[in-house]
Every structure is written in structure tokens, then in C-alpha cells.
Amino acid sequence: MIHRLLAVLSLAFFVGSAVSAEPFVQGGPIGSQTPDGYNALGPVVQQPIEFPHYRHARDMGINCMYCHTGARRGYVSVIPRIDKCIGCHQNIESVRNKPRIKKLFEYWDKKEPIPWKKVNDLPDYVRFNHERHIQRFYFRQNRPVREVCGYCHGDVANMTVDRRVKALSMGWCISCHQKDHKESDTNMKTSHGPGECWQCHK
């Protein structure tokens, strides 16, 4: 009898997890669970304009950092300034009257900032520095940009608006820092990331 109970519960678990997980709007793998058991998947976030990352980053092949300019030089990767969008779209007649682009130009004409909702929102007591990570993985190690950004943010290039797909918790960050990999010909172990609390909790 107990075995039947176990079987039912196991089934319920697998079925349950499938049922309780929200379906993706666009494709992309669900990120890993953290060792400390935190849920990696963020909610679907409604944005003022349903910006299609897949059209820009995948189809047009635009580098993430063309718009998210702060990633290589500061703490925040920066939500692009509206004139970044306008810079191209003022010259693209073919899509000028599409509904989302018309909405964009409404904001631009009123010189009003688009009130995006923050998707990857760390608590105020954490200070994450994009620059160090981008400088290491993109500029020094020359990895492809979708791999570098995607490690933490998932396959955004296949999404419309962004959705958090990794836990972004401290345990999750540490799990990457604790990986050993080759630093140089003589050094096969890394320093396992910042050893001091204040490096992130400033």
C-alpha cells in the first residue's frame, strides 16, 4: 500500500511540477535549480511595449551590448535610452506603423520615459557589478555574447520581453564562483570569487 502511495506521490510530483510551472511565452530552457532549493523561474512580466528581443538579437544579430551599453563599463547594464530605439527606427519605414513601434514613437514625441518593469531585480543590499563579469568573459575570454549574457539571463535572444530564468540568488551566484577552471598554464584552480562580504554587500 505504501508503495502505491509512493508511486502516486512520485507521479504527482512530476505531473505537479509540469502543471504548476507557468508555460513560456517564447522558447528557452528553464534554468538550473539552485543547490539551496530556490526557484529559478521568474513570473511572466507585462511590459508597456512587448519588446521582441528575438527580432533584434536573434534575427538581426544585434549584439546585446549595443543597447545594454552599461554592461561593459559599470554596475548596471542599463535599460537603453529611448533615442537608441529611435536612432534606427526613425529610418525604418517598413515597420513605422506597426502598433508597438507607434507606441514607441508616442513616448518619444512626448519625451516621456517608457516605464519598464524591472525583471532582474536584486535586493537593495546587493551590488552586482556587470563590468567585471563582462570584461572577463566577453573581452578577455572572447566568448560569444549570447553565451556570456545568457549564462545569467538565459536565452533572451529567443524571448520577446525578458523573463528571469535563473535564480539570481546568492547561492546560485556562488555556485558559479566555486567552479574550478583553468586560470593559466600553471593555475588550474581559481580563487573562488570574492572572499569578502563587502564586495557585493556594499
Partner: protein
Amino acid sequence: MSESGINRRDFLKVLGLGGSSLALTGCGNTDIRSGDELVMPNVHPEDFVVPGLSVFYASTCTQCGSACGVMGRVREGRVLKMEGNPESKISGGKICGLGQAAVQVQYNPDRLTQPMMKVGGSLQPVSWDKAMALLEEKTGPKSGINGEEFAFMTGAMSGHLKVLVENYLESLGSKNHYVYEALSPAVSFAAYKQVYGVDMPRLHFDKAKLIVSFGSDFLGTGASPVHFAAEYAKFRKAPRGTLIQIEPKMTMTGANADRWIPIIPGTEGVFALGVANQLLKHEEFAQSVPSDIVTLVAKYDPETVSSITGVRSELVGHVAALLWEKSPSLVISGASVEGHTHGVQNAVAIQLLNKILGNVGKTLDGQAQSPFPQIAPNAGSFAALKSVNDGMGSGKFKAVFIYGANPVFTAPSFMGLRDNLRKVPFKVAFVNAVDETAEECDLVLPIYTAVEDFGSHVAWYQPEGVEITMQQPLMEKLYSDTRSMGDIMLELVKQRRADEYKAWPDFLSYLKTAVVNIKSAVKYTDTDEHFWYDTLSHGVIHVDAPQQQIGSNFSSAMLNLPATADPQDPKFPFYLVPSERHYFRDGRHANCGWLQESPDPLTTIVWDSWAEIHPKTAESMGIKEGDYLEVSSQNGTLKVKAYLFPGIHPDAISIPLGQGHESLGRFAKGVGVNPFKILNPVFEVNTGELAMYGTRVSVKKTGESEIVVKDEGPVSTQMGRKLVVTLPADVAQLSKEI
């Protein structure tokens, strides 16, 4: 083990499975949010704006008169932090807490955001058009006002805004520029002028082996605390200099002294002459002063001096011995010396010691002579307040402008200034927050704070050469309906001098033209545009200028000190010491929460006023900490909590200045008491300045008591144990050590 169903092992297995599935789909990390907060992009910013990265702009701190060069850290168009500008010789790249609080002045929740006009007895918001129309109606060319009927009261000013104010007065044909500082340096300047021929000499702490300071709180208040703190650090480096402080109530500088000597207020000059008496016994000093002074000084033997000053006679010889032994030395004085009827004579007697010791030209010499007298600073005085008060009282003035001063708060009540101000038909205040004076005005105009405005400043104390510190906006104006004081003044000057000023649409262009004229004086060879931007980016212009020669002119006529201390009035037996706190000064920044929260360095009290009283005196009167006392002069009473403090003369009681506001904002209003109000009409005889330390008071217990909010905890932290053994000063034989 139960037959029918689940045994413990299986039960735990089920629980475990259920538990882990819950963890995998359920609780989540709620600190990591998604879709809660907004992230607003810029629309069309400047190219260099990177969200998250700070840029630094150089400017001038205007929180006190030191004109320290500072930098503001600006992120996303908001100034967030002030730091020192390393290029400034005055600040040396450092900044004090008062300067840091400039950020709070900017984000002051009680900022005035719109012009206000008095309608039916209360201030109502109006548009700038209406405000400027009223200004034009009352003081413009068609108003018929003549120069005699107009008065402009300002605080101490320097730089190009000062020039504009003076030009405006000139355009009106008015000579009535009243420069008022509640804590005025006028007595100090008069004394220095008398003996050295300059208002303020340059002091070289780093060259001195011994500093004897008669009440000069150079680390806290005074001419340039940031600069002097750095000089003091040099002074204390090996071989370590010695500091002796002689004052009625311990200041922050006094707390740093190696030897602190309490003295009856007003008798410091006598003590100095006593020390001179001992010094002149040395052959090498006997010829240093004219014979009339030698004769005069001979009367001040240690016993006489002791009976007048209350200081033990052996200390007179001890201080003299230290001065003779540790050379070069430097003897300076401060507000507690100057604030008496014979303040100038006190200060002169103290400078006599420098003369005798040969310090003049060594540790004390001249500052650089400014080649630009027009932008040189003016100095405030009480005499100016008295003049304008008399004028207002007699009905002489039809219009009064007030900028950079809050006389309704700082004027003693015997002056009746508020009533006199009410007699003036048209009063205008230029402020960034409504203070007591603005409350009385008919028109209150909201001006930019220092971090929003352009300007130029020249400090009174210049450590090297002449430094013109530039002020530039660290951010765009926070409130759309405020205006720059410079722009307002320019518009007013143009009312009568439109042609002369037509080349300049705003204060910025005026300032730029004027500053660019300095280019040749600093031998800058590039274009005007580059000079302007270089100047703004460096924040300071250093002008080499020849050093002022200081004379040395002492005569016995200047040393006419009273033979005895002020007689004890049995009705008002205590000496009131209205102390100046570094962060409060004359009280203008009392609405900064950071400053209220910063504990007083001596008492650690926050968000309040207090009356410092010597523990022995308190014991004899049955006063304990927190007892509400009534401190009364002939001109008013203050109700204030007692704080027992050994660093005060037993016959003195000290209440700090700067609190007791009735306006100015939520963090200032109703906090503490205002000792300015109860000062008696006692005046320094040479200058007519208010003798702020010359008021005598009575002290009475009210019977009420309340906890004193302070950081230090119980004063007697040893609680009867002998963790740190202390000895009373007269037992400890301090003279064997210092």
C-alpha cells in the same frame, strides 16, 4: 510496527518526497523580485551619462565662509555626495561634516519651491511674474524710491555676486549695504589691523613647536577649520608640537590640547600680560617691545594676574617657561576673548606675546595681497545690524532686501528687531527655505541652493597665494520655479542700467566674461573658452600674489585692560558662554537632520540644547543632569536642560548657539533654545560690536527634569570601580608633564 498501513520508515520516505517537491516548486527566494519595481530609461540624455556611473564636478562649499574647494559626486543627474577638491589649497582635498550636509540642504524637504507673497497676513504662493512685478512696483525705476530709503542686508559675500549686489545698490544711488554676520570677525580684524596693519595674518601651525590658544577653536569654528585641521596634523607630527588652550569653556580644539586651563571670561588679556611679565624677565626679550609697554606689563605680576583671572599664579610662570623653551611658538585668540567690552585690548595683549617671542614673521606673517579687490570678501559686523535696525526703527527705509542673513533669529531681543522690521513697508527675502526673517517679509523669493548655482568665491583666509574658488551647478535645479540669485540681481540691475549690462542675458554669461578676464593674470595662453572650461573643471584659480608685509605696532595705549574682572552681580552671578558649534554656527543649517544627529564633540548631545555647568557648581546647587534650569539675563530667560561638564569654569554656564528656531523647517523648529535672544546690550568699546561673552545670567532650578539624549551613556561609566584612575587637576601635578 503497525500492521495496517504506514510504518515510520515509509512515512518518512513519503514526507521526504513530498517535502522536496514542495521546495522545488514552492517557497522561492522572495528577495529576488521580478516585475515589481520600475526601471526608467533616459529619453535623450547627454552622451556621457551612463546610469550607475558617477561623474564628479568641482565647486565651492558655501556652508561656512571658508570657501573650501569641493567636488560633488553626481549620478544620473543627482548630486549624492560631497568630497574635497584636491586642487584647492584651502580644503586640500578634504571636507568637513558641515560640507557633507550640503547634500541635505539640496534635498531639504522644506525647500521653498515657489515665490511667496504676504496676502492678508500670511505668505501665499504666487507666480514669478507677479513677484517680479511687485519688485518693480516697489523698487523699480518708476517706484520713485531713492537710495536713502533702500537697504540691502546681506551676509558676508565675495566674488562676482558681491559685485552685482554692489552695482545694484549703486544703480539705486544707495550706500545702504549692510553686511551682517551674527558671529562676526570684526573684533578680531580690528585687533589685527591695529597691531599688524592687516585684517588677518597667515598662521603657520606647521612651523610652531608650541601653540598657546586663548579660546581659538581652530579645529571646529573660525576662519578655515578644514585647512587648520590639516595644518594641525602637520604640527602634531614628530617632533610633536604642544597645544595649550586657555578658555572659559572647553571647545573641540581645547579637548585636543595637552594642557587646558579654565579662566574667568574676559580676563584672558590680563593672563597674557602676566605671561608677558614673566617673558620680559629674559634678557633676549627685554628689547622686543617699547619701554612704555615694559612699564605697563611690570604691573602684571603673577599674584595680581591670579587674583583677576582665577588661574593659579604658578601657571602664569609655567606657560611663560614653555613659551621660552619651545620656540618658535604661536599665540592665537578666538571668539571667547573677543566677545567682551575690551575684546580688542584682550586680543592685542595676546598678540603682544607673539611680538615678544619673535614669532612675527616666523609663525605669523602676511597673506597674499589680492590683485582683485573688487571680488575680495567683505566682512560682516554687528555694527551693521545696529545701523539697519536703527534705520528700520526710525522709519527711514521704504524697502529692505535680505539675503544670506537671518536677523530675526540671531538678533538679541533687546534690539526689538522683529518689530522694527515690521515697520518697513516692503521687505523681500531671498532664501531657499523659509526662515524667521522670511516669515516677516512681504515677498519671499526661492533661490537656487549652492549646488544648483554658478558663482565665484574668495575666502578671508588664504593659505597660499590667492585662491578664487569657482562654484558651478552639480545638478539641474531640483524645483522648476526657483531662480538663481545672480540672475535675479542681474535683472534688477538692468532695470536702471540696461545698456551697461545688455551683453549678458544671465548671470552665467556675466560670470564667464568676468572670469575670463583673469586669464592673463594667471598666464594662461590658450583660448577664452578653454580657460573657462579648464577653470570649471579644476574648480579653482590660483593667483600668485605678493605677500602682504605685516607691521608690528604695539603701544601701551592699546593695552588698556580693566584692573579687575567684572564685579559679581549678585542677581546674575554666572558668566554666560554662548558657544559656537562647528556644525551649527549661527544656526543656518539647523534643518539638516545629519547635523542634528551628529553628536556634539564635547557632550555627545543630539537634537537639543543644553546648559553646561561644572559638576561642583551643580552639586552645590543640587542640580543633576537633565534638570530643567531657568537661565535668565536682564533681557530674557531660557529653559534648558543641565549637563554636568568638568570642562567649564565653575562660575560659567554654557549654552550652544544655533538651535531654538521658530521656523526654517521640520528638523529645526522647536528644537532647543536660542541664546542669541537673551544677550545683554554689552558692546566692545573700540568697534561697537556686540560683546557676546559679556552677558551675566542667573540660574534657577525649575523642578522639572527630563532625560538628556546623548551618545555617551552614563558619564560615570566606571560606576564606582577604579578601571581608569583619575586625579583632580590640582593633585595630578600636570605641570610636571606639560
